[in-house]
Homo-oligomer: 271 residues x 2
Amino acid sequence: MTTQQLITQIKKKQSFLCIGLDVDLNKIPQHLLEEEDPIFAFNKAIIDATHQLCVAYKPNTAFYEAYGIKGWQALEKTINYLNDKHPEIYTIADAKRGDIGNTSTMYAKAFFEDLGFDSVTVAPYMGKDSVEPFLAFEDKHTILLALTSNQGAFDFQTQTVDGVELYKQVLKTSKTWKNSENLMYVVGATKAEFLADIRQIIPDSFLLVPGVGAQGGNLQDVCKYGMTDAVGLLINSSRGIIYASQNDDFAQAAAAKAKELQLQMSEILNA
Amino acid sequence: MTTQQLITQIKKKQSFLCIGLDVDLNKIPQHLLEEEDPIFAFNKAIIDATHQLCVAYKPNTAFYEAYGIKGWQALEKTINYLNDKHPEIYTIADAKRGDIGNTSTMYAKAFFEDLGFDSVTVAPYMGKDSVEPFLAFEDKHTILLALTSNQGAFDFQTQTVDGVELYKQVLKTSKTWKNSENLMYVVGATKAEFLADIRQIIPDSFLLVPGVGAQGGNLQDVCKYGMTDAVGLLINSSRGIIYASQNDDFAQAAAAKAKELQLQMSEILNA
């Protein structure tokens, strides 16, 4: 999917919501465990109930890998279901990969070609030749970790590198990489006060913003400092939506939570 | 496996060689493509021919994920084969993972529990709470990226953070994390001249050293600056060994290359 197609969807749906599909078998309604593929059954129900309220889904690969082959099958079924039934939806493999050149190409093939995701999250620590192999794929986005939503972000990301914080160096340096127009960035909602500075460096890039809801980030603050003329934001909520209820009504409860956020987003878009 | 058990194996086999199982279907002998599981067939032949010459195997997960479910099955068969037939071998999932707390726990479960690896490589960018979940597993090692073997290492890793290079900050800071005795570090052989400095900060930790051979790193230099009284090194070679021949004799050719390195290692250990 191109950036322009994503923007069109955002305007049409009046939503820049991304729903994180981080399925933990200990947290889903217990009757689903009797299904042949409980993870996919859960995802399908969530997708069916929420796909008109969001523009993107983001499975975090850790939650699938933890269940081995069965988990990987559930991930494959989920992305195939999205691509078949809802090709207008933007898909993010939250994989946080990154390795030396030829190995990054293998990861890019895994997520862009084999699984058919629109984008993948990538860690910047190994630098240019670990990220450019992802950027080489046309109409695919590479979402680089910049300033993450967790406490550990203060260990290295906000440390000053030659007078500039490391995450700002990542933003600046990555702009010089080949096909950098295919970059988006992860910036945690818990660090909304950093967004004004970030927009100085990358005024137009899309940001994937986790941390609204369960982690305490605030939607209004993120939009105030991070929104661009072309929106430029994908706000992710995972647990706050998918675990809104652990009972039979889990899908409706998820839809209600998603609707709440979508309405707030619609208001912001029309303000 | 404990560090002490690994050291015992190194002394017994007179080898601190790790063989990287980075299987690319375009590079393996073409007759193997007729096998039901070509990747596992290749790995099994390499393992059978080389297991007495090395102490560790390191599958890079990218090369398995690129082939989807079949790739993941091949990875599972490979680690099961190693754990069943050669439990004395140390196993490394070269996955370069890292995410916020609860997600890192899922990754740790995937590699330590579901697959049964002894260790996993992890990227440090997200800081303490992304790494400590891995460190919590007893008798398992977390191998943190410090200074990698690629050119991109100079983009951020060697930049000065508050007067100290980022990779040194990673070494220093990570030593303060809970269960840090379970840490090892990745330091590329292409940067052997940095090893003396690194040993000032982490005098005893094991280092996983990629980049000898195909990437141009030199074994003697790495040992001169990086070896400790308890060896403290795992030298990885992937392509240089497993693709020594693309003909029917690939396993024997791999064993010959591994033997060459093992003999050099034995000399160094007895010098």
